[in-house]
């Protein structure tokens, strides 16, 4: 008889099983016990219900936030990215004192390194003579290709890579004059303009419905003629 298989399940273990955090053999044993013990099964089911309810609640809270707030946050992120790019560009333009010194000594680097290497070898030979003769002398390795270069910074986003928004004039190439605004009779003003959407298709693209209780806004992204080969 397998004591492991028949040993009771402690409550913490059931939770770990629910989270797929148990070793396979113990998980299998508990799986078998669940099938036989209805109380254990019910408790396991409760964990699933609790998880589903929590998820649904937190998602509902997120849905209630107006889209405009997320756009405001994006504006701040965009500004921060611009700031970072500006600072990076400034750092690139004015290299540090050490970078300038390093650049100034470029022609002398190789001979200087070779001399340093020779000196190191000499010192090592002298020191091994006076110490344990079995010790392998430390030899400075000179890697001619290891000229230290500052790591290339991430390229600042280029304006040219961002597709430009459609200019209104370009969308009207015929240059036709806009007809005068039509006469429109005043419309009734309801208390709420919240729409109930019965069916919607966003043409396979990303889209969103935002309902604030008084206003409904549908968000779609236009496909721009210039954007098809760009970016992504």
């Amino acid at each position: 008889m397998n004591t492991e298989a028949t040993a009771g399940v402690n409550p913490e273990e059931l939770h770990a099983f629910f989270d797929d955090e148990l070793p396979a053999d113990r998980a299998d044993a508990i799986e078998r016990m669940l099938a036989e013990d209805s109380d254990l099964g019910a408790e396991h089911e409760q964990l699933g219900l609790m998880r589903g309810t929590l998820r649904a609640s937190l998602e509902a809270e997120a849905e209630a936030v107006p889209q405009a707030r997320f756009e405001q946050v994006w504006d701040e992120i965009d500004r921060a990215i611009e700031r970072d790019a500006r600072l990076q560009a400034e750092a690139d333009r004015s290299p540090s004192v050490w970078a300038r010194v390093w650049a100034a000594f470029k022609p002398l680097r190789l001979p200087a390194l070779a001399a340093a290497g020779a000196a190191a070898v000499t010192l090592a030979v002298i020191s091994t003579d006076s110490e344990d003769p079995n010790k392998t002398p430390a030899v400075a390795s000179v890697d001619e290709t290891s000229d230290a270069k500052p790591a290339a910074p991430a390229p600042a986003p280029s304006e040219a890579e961002t597709p430009e928004p459609t200019r209104l004039a370009d969308a009207n190439p015929g240059g036709q004059a806009t007809p005068p605004e039509p006469e429109i009779a005043p419309m009734p003003v309801p208390e709420s303009s919240e729409a109930e959407i019965h069916e919607i298709d966003f043409g396979g693209k990303n889209g969103r419905i935002s309902n604030t209780g008084t206003v409904t806004v549908l968000y779609v992204e236009d496909v721009e003629a210039t954007s098809s080969e760009r970016s992504l």
């Binding site: 107006p66 889209q67 405009a68 707030r69 756009e71 405001q72 504006d75 430009e164 928004p165 459609t166 200019r167 209104l168 969308a171 009207n172 806009t178 605004e181 039509p182 006469e183 429109i184 009779a185 005043p186 419309m187 009734p188 003003v189 309801p190 208390e191 709420s192 303009s193 919240e194 729409a195 109930e196 959407i197 019965h198 069916e199 919607i200 298709d201 966003f202 043409g203 693209k205 889209g207 935002s210 604030t212 008084t214 206003v215 409904t216 806004v217 549908l218 968000y219 779609v220 992204e221 236009d222 496909v223 721009e224 003629a225």
Partner: protein, 169 residues
Amino acid sequence: MIHARKKLLASALAAVLMPAAALATVAVPTAAHAAEEADCQLTAVHALKKGDGTIPKSLDFLADQLKDDEFAAYKSFKLIERKALKLKRDTASEARFSTGNRIGLTLLGNEGSRLKLHADIRSRNGETKLLAADYSIANGGVLLVRAGELEHDGETGKLFFAIQCSGKV
């Protein structure tokens, strides 16, 4: 004890959930008048993130919507263009905008005092249908669609379409 408590809890839940369920089973829309026609106005609006927050007179009829939280990010609005459509039930009509977008509207009928409509929007290059939706809305209510970025009068902002219809309901 547990059984009695379960009953009490179950009845507590039912009391909360019941009104919604009752409304769903009892409410039957009775049309005082079936909507056969509707007048619609479609407005293209440019929304910018800079400005002083004033809503121009030409967009007064959208003031309630533009002051909503949904538009908190925008500080100025400009009317680009307005189109009028007369809808006949189950007959598609279309408005073309100088942006290149085309908006199709169909009156599907009504649910009590709410109009039932179908709206679809084509992309500026005319190749793609960005949106097709069946919806119901209060008579005179405004459905808004944000359709991407637009440069207008040298400024980059977001393009919104406001779709407003009224009929005899």
